[in-house]
Symmetry: C2
Subunit: 200 residues, 2 copies
Amino acid sequence: MQSYPSKSVEKAVEQISKLPGIGKKSALRLALHLLKQEELFTLQLVDALTKLKSDTKFCKTCHNLSDEVECNFCSSDNRDRHILCVVEDFRDVMAIENTHQYHGMYHVLGGLISPMDGVGPADLQIESLLGRLDGTITEVILALSPNMEGDTTAFYLNRKLSSFNLTVSTIARGVPIGGELEYADEVTLGRSILNRIKQG
Amino acid sequence: MQSYPSKSVEKAVEQISKLPGIGKKSALRLALHLLKQEELFTLQLVDALTKLKSDTKFCKTCHNLSDEVECNFCSSDNRDRHILCVVEDFRDVMAIENTHQYHGMYHVLGGLISPMDGVGPADLQIESLLGRLDGTITEVILALSPNMEGDTTAFYLNRKLSSFNLTVSTIARGVPIGGELEYADEVTLGRSILNRIKQG
């Protein structure tokens, strides 16, 4: 049991340490840092956190984070409207955008099917995904994490998507570029042999 | 250059990543966590941060953090007013209190002398320390970090305190309890031999 020098410090540490990956010690260090800074520093932080919650919207079409009712991708004229990439959350959109290899549309599920965590298909944006398949979209790419939840969700979506007249693909799995073969785990390496790509 | 899905997320990431030890990736993870929580979660955090800055005072006597004009130690009747422990900041007070071995008063310098960082004696609560030495205090313990800044500050304080009629001591340095001798660094081990304690 720590004895904090002041109630306000204790309260701040309590709230800060509720954030994921921040323990009491880190929270105390952050609180001390804030106390040492000018008032403006805290004001700006508090303002940004308040606005994060109040100003951030979810795009009505793809459910990506957005400042407007429709996100930059859905309202853009420069994206390929025939291809749709399904991802778990907005960080995946950012990661894919950073590759500069994809120019189609997105659909953010808002999670993955996970019976362990009580997340079922109805908790995800799956109905609205199916609602977008009006014939314009000819290919759906499932870009989900290569783990149990991702595979379960992909399996479920595959079944749902089979009744539509479109191509369903998943992102390639294999040895990461720059990695050394001997350090690749056997599942990944095995998959990379099964899914080998014919040359020329 | 990341392309954030919304201005409010970008702004929040920018402010959160100004905190020490939190990079852009962690800030983004924290922002996503906040977005996924109830509004109340952010409100409580923002409230605690605001109050941290507005409600936390510095004790007028020892400069420890406090909710009142005078801190719990300075206003307490149960502390030994003859002995004064000089520390760098309030986390040291908490660390010493957690040992339950000390029952005297404290004095928080608010930093250590560090010419590299432009911190001189005038930037610390040294004048007010000397002002407290009115004859009641018979021993001053220097509990400063065992590094260059701590040693410089201790040297400076030793000289200043030499004109007062009191005992000046420093916390013992030596091998940490529970540690193994062979892993102790040579400076610490050497010091622990020089400062050996006679038995019986």
